[in-house]
Assembly symmetry: C2
Homo-oligomer: 495 residues x 2
């Protein structure tokens, strides 16, 4: 096989040799603060543009969610130097995040370090991972401006600093933000369920409330408030979290917190119907299952959130000890700030190839992007499977571009691309607790197709997610966590 290696090395170097002639790198504008500090300043802070012929083209990826990580996994690092910029150094396996809040799974079992997904970023020369947030994009000069994320809580912590990174290709996979609909008090008093630190906070608070409600000097009313867990939003996340919580109460609280077990309750508040994207029979099944497990389903709209209670639109006051908010996502302030074409709903507008039209060498994937109206396609839902499929598609396309000599900035104009991105929905799944789940294999809301509910679905749900977990290490840990939860119950140490 050594002749094959030699051949591939020869061909790849031949490919690398071609770009310079094709390339038309824009001259530096001295008026731009980014390019000047990155290139011309006395001590350039940041990564200057690559030098064709000497270096590989640089692919900059913003974000480490489903889309960005799947993209980096698929990128051929012999073609690109990869620079990943994200405020977290791991990907979160979001479908299993709800399970970590009550100790069914451990936090680390659902977090996958980026360095394990694409080892190059912390080992290859020219490839990097930067723990930072992107602040702005200067597409004229092919540069992004970033700010480091430091642990600002301690006095001896570093002050954040800014730096620039020049890119040949830029992929924006910066994700979306939890929607609060401008309701006052949500950000201050509710906990979202999107990151590992959210799950940690929920777990700490739940265990703290369970313990505090047992201490002398607390009234029955206050005890009931402390142990009232309210979930707002009846989408898959809200339903799965409610299901996990009721499992925790039925199996663990009744056995291990007998003094307070009669006071704990779960309420799920939804303005419309729960699991609205699912088949109507599955919705009914989920409603029955949740009610059977003791989850109170309330139809209502939250008007206002106070530190220890929320107000519904009919004026009802609902006291709570724990409030989890999951009413979908919308564009983040960073996405809103970009002067790019936008899709309906305010996401970054992309064409069928996930390119941002009129902005050369910029692509977008995942929850932060949406098809432009001009494509005639509708904006895809903010789902892990959409993001993952986009990441995979774009990795292939970028590899193809680099192989055809279009890897460097401003030189991919004439390269022929393959078929455009096409999304085929594989179905939806959600667990409702007590070894029961829903599996909806219809391709869209209107289509007909297989839908299942019950124990078999639960088994399908667990098996499917176990195979989707990225690394063997975490696959192993998820299986071990499930086993120990079954044998020993959930872990209740508040650390």
């Amino acid at each position: 096989m050594s002749w094959l290696k030699l051949f591939s090395r020869f061909t790849s170097s031949a490919w690398k040799a071609t770009p310079p002639s094709l390339r038309s790198f824009k001259p530096v504008q001295p008026s731009s603060p980014f390019s000047s500090s990155a290139i011309a300043g006395p001590s350039p802070v940041g990564l200057p543009p690559t030098t064709p012929g000497k270096e590989k083209p640089r692919l900059v990826v913003l974000g480490t969610g489903w889309a960005g990580c799947r993209l980096m996994k698929g990128i051929d690092t012999s073609l690109y130097d990869v620079v990943c910029i994200s405020p977290r150094n791991h990907m979160v396996f979001t479908p299993l995040l709800a399970s970590t809040c009550v100790g069914t799974l451990e936090f680390r079992s659902v977090a996958e370090p980026v360095g394990r997904i694409q080892p190059s970023i912390s080992t290859a020369p020219g490839s990097y991972f930067y723990l930072a947030r992107c602040k702005s994009i200067d597409s004229d000069n092919h540069t992004v401006e970033c700010e480091t994320v430091t642990d600002g809580t301690r006095e001896d912590a570093l002050k954040p600093w800014n730096f620039n990174v020049a890119y040949d290709k830029l992929v924006i996979g910066a994700g979306a933000e939890a929607l609060t609909f401008g309701i006052e008090g949500v950000k201050e008093h509710a906990i979202f369920l999107r990151e590992v630190h959210h799950a940690q906070e929920i777990r700490r608070k739940l265990l703290l409330n369970l313990m505090l409600s047992d201490v002398p000097g607390i009234s029955v009313e206050e005890k009931k408030r402390l142990l009232h867990c309210v979930v707002v939003g009846g989408g898959p996340t809200g339903v799965e979290f409610s299901g996990e919580l009721s499992d925790f109460i039925i199996k663990d609280v009744t056995e291990r917190y007998t003094h307070v077990k009669d006071y704990i309750r779960v309420t799920l508040i939804e303005a419309n119907e729960i699991l609205s994207s699912f088949d109507v029979r599955l919705r009914q099944y989920a409603t029955n299952q949740l009610t059977k497990s003791g989850v109170r389903l309330v139809r209502g709209i939250v008007k206002h959130v106070q530190p220890q209670s929320l107000i519904l639109d009919d004026g009802t006051e609902v006291p709570f000890g724990l409030l989890v908010w999951s009413t979908g996502v919308g564009p983040s302030p960073f996405v809103k700030s970009l002067q790019f074409p936008k899709s309906p709903g305010g996401r970054i507008g992309v064409d069928e190839y996930l390119r941002v039209p009129s902005v050369p060498d910029v692509f977008s994937v995942g929850d932060c992007c949406g098809f432009l109206e001009s494509t005639g396609r509708s904006v895809l839902p903010a789902l892990a499977q959409v993001a993952e499929r986009q990441g995979k598609f774009l990795a292939g396309q970028l590899n193809q571009i680099a192989r055809a000599g279009g890897g460097y900035a401003n030189c991919a104009g004439e390269i022929e691309l393959g078929p455009p991105f096409h999304y085929r929905h594989l179905g939806s799944m959600a667990t409702v607790g007590r070894y029961k789940a829903l599996v909806d294999l219809r391709q869209s809301k209107e289509a007909k197709g297989l839908s299942l509910a019950g124990f078999v679905s639960w088994f399908v749900w667990r098996s499917a997610y176990l195979t989707r977990v990225i690394s063997w290490r975490n696959r192993f840990y998820v299986a071990i966590n499930w086993l120990t939860t079954l044998v020993f119950g959930r872990d209740i140490s508040k650390i």
Copy 2:
């Protein structure tokens, strides 16, 4: 065997029936704020005294360390109601805490919830676990005053409140505090290594510094500072942490953070000799091993700690990115505040039976107690094995007292006790990294005996601790963690 059960039930109820006549319960002093609020107030906040004949005597345990937990495990809950008061709901398996800082072990594998050690405390009527700190002890009225531990960081957090608990027997196992010798800046800028949250903070900071030092815009000097890990204190904790850290650097940093691997260093600062309690040959072995692994050993005394550097007594400034402080422990402010007899060194003074003389029904175990000078015994070292042995001894003794009818307050005067507590040192162990450890089986510093160093010791070290881990669940997880670290390397996601 059913006749045996019947017999034992008969005899135990016979024992329970005797106490009232023996008992001389003190009349309530209306001047005392504790007893009045606990018994006579309009809304008594707290647990009032037990009623002999109706209830079991109440054993109050302060603390959930090695001593308190071993004691609760050994207590016969058919004889006592157990009320445990502690600011944390779990016991920490301290000898393995250093391994969690670098991801060799997971945090939860070394934390054991109290409810798993003694399930009665959260299930039996009359037994409780209170997440609180003891503020003072009113031994005249057999009451402790406590304050709840709430999560005071959020605006909607509960304010802490006070409550009283009357006891029949009180065991103080509240532990000790890290010593800083009054050196300025230690508490603000160094991290101790005594609780799980300390290990979490060390891990977060280590990973943060590794990532930040790779970001553009940082000088070589600053990079070196960020990646300089300084450990102060050459006892077993400091040495084991240094060993783990050098293992992490040799195996994981060099593979996964190649850009910065040449900048990371570990320095261990000790005023005298490292591992001073170990055999001289073992000390030499440890010194060689650590040096070989790249740990720089510095003899010096820290004079002053600043946010990003420390000053030694010879004036040298040592910049650091991470500072871990482990220079032994001393009496906590709570122990200092108690108006009880004290041992040399300021610990709670106890006799050979671990009773606090002149204070009826009060016992003390673990790092917070020491033999009184009058016993002619020397104060035992603050070791897990001392605390555990004391907890076990006292559990047996308290069971014996209750069986003889002395369980209630003020009625154990005439009960004959068995042999006093006798401590026999089983030996010391410490790992120095790279599959090497020290095992010193001498009974005291001056005695002769077996001492081992090397791989066999390391194997003994791991096996010994694996068998000492309290629950099967955690034993299983520690083994699994070790296995996955071996196969996949350490986890580096900063969550």
